[in-house]
Symmetry: C2
Subunit: 224 residues, 2 copies
């Protein structure tokens, strides 16, 4: 779907073509779009060909209504803008399940972490992390999360070593509740570590390579 066709569809929607058939000539549409009559006519042909609009020809002008398909295209755009302007308390990721190197289990079993998880997140994690590889470009969103700041899990020491602090965010993976864990130090990674009270691989039937959706809440209290 080409950007200028979406713009045209939006213009038609603004004139009411989502509710009703609207009467509009290619010349009028051209004026609205700041283009020529010929181009507007071509746009309408393209939109029709793509099933975005229905056209009905009267004696003079045509009646145009946006189809279900066209409405869906606009709805998608709308969701994008909502993401940008209205939901700054939620961030979404899409990624693929990958295997870690087993170190997740070691960390999530440390008492120093477990106690804090229980107190600050409200659950004791099932041992191990579910690792989700996100698109490389989306590490920017991870960076954003870190800058924003989440639920801080403090560093602690045992006899043998120091365990570094991490930042957590309440999150859902394919609908299942849990949290993501970002090491406070360390560089930006394209792998998200997910912890949960349940065994996610079993509960969700996940195996390496499966596509998953992660929703991260910026609220520090669990809302639901």
């Amino acid at each position: 779907m080409k950007p200028y066709l979406i713009q045209t569809l939006k213009e038609l929607a603004l004139l009411g073509a989502m509710r009703d058939r609207i009467e509009i000539s290619s010349f009028e549409l051209a004026r609205q779009l700041g283009t020529s009559q010929q181009t507007a006519s071509r746009y309408l042909l393209d939109l029709d060909k793509n099933g975005m609009i229905n056209r009905e020809f009267g004696i003079k002008k045509q009646l145009i209504q946006i189809t279900q398909l066209g409405a869906e295209v606009l709805q998608k755009e709308h969701i994008d803008y909502q993401q940008i302007f209205e939901l700054p308390n939620r961030v979404y990721f899409q990624g693929r399940v990958v295997s870690g190197m087993g170190e997740g289990k070691y960390y999530t079993e440390q008492k120093g972490y477990v106690d804090q998880f229980k107190r600050k997140l409200g659950f004791v994690p099932y041992p191990g992390t579910l690792n989700v590889e996100i698109k490389y470009v989306e590490r920017n969103k991870l960076r954003m999360l870190k800058n924003y700041g989440g639920i801080n899990i403090d560093e602690f020491k045992t006899k043998n070593r120091t365990f570094g602090g991490v930042t957590c965010f309440h999150a859902k993976i394919d609908g299942a509740t849990g949290a993501i864990v970002l090491p406070s130090r360390s560089h930006y990674s394209n792998v998200i570590e997910f912890i949960s009270p349940i065994c996610l691989r079993k509960q969700l039937g996940l195996k390496d390579g499966d596509e998953v959706k992660i929703m991260i809440s910026l609220d520090k209290k669990l809302s639901q």
Copy 2:
């Protein structure tokens, strides 16, 4: 502002470039947009040239942040989509003040109308209508209003003649409260008749040709 540049800007915003500088190469952006690295690079140059983004060059990749101007462009788009999906209870028009032929005064002084206006709209109109000519293409929005249905003022008879029913909507013109009057019968016109308890021409200092903004509420009760 070309549609594909707006789409690019939107993509950057979705990656968080409204809040923070994001690290993204032209190659990565190209993948996001489904285009070539060269084209993505050109888009970024164009956006920069138009003052929509700020760029900072590191050793390898660049840091990009959306400027105030860029944010305004996206905000405008967002408002359009809100108009389409979220505010179906308000319709906006822009138009020019024009002179009627004095018949507005005659009608708005008829007791049969005045009593109903008072009861159903909550005010007695100042004699006369303020006529606003809207863009021809926007008559589609008027048609939509009629289909939707407003506050019905019933027809009535005097000794001499019958006065037809009209449909009204609560409305504001440049912030001043009143209502618009659409004859129930009659064809679609590109002139909106506005009534108000005050003399709008005097109160707002309006003369023929002045640009005005009309906000029409689809609520049948006056909300405010």
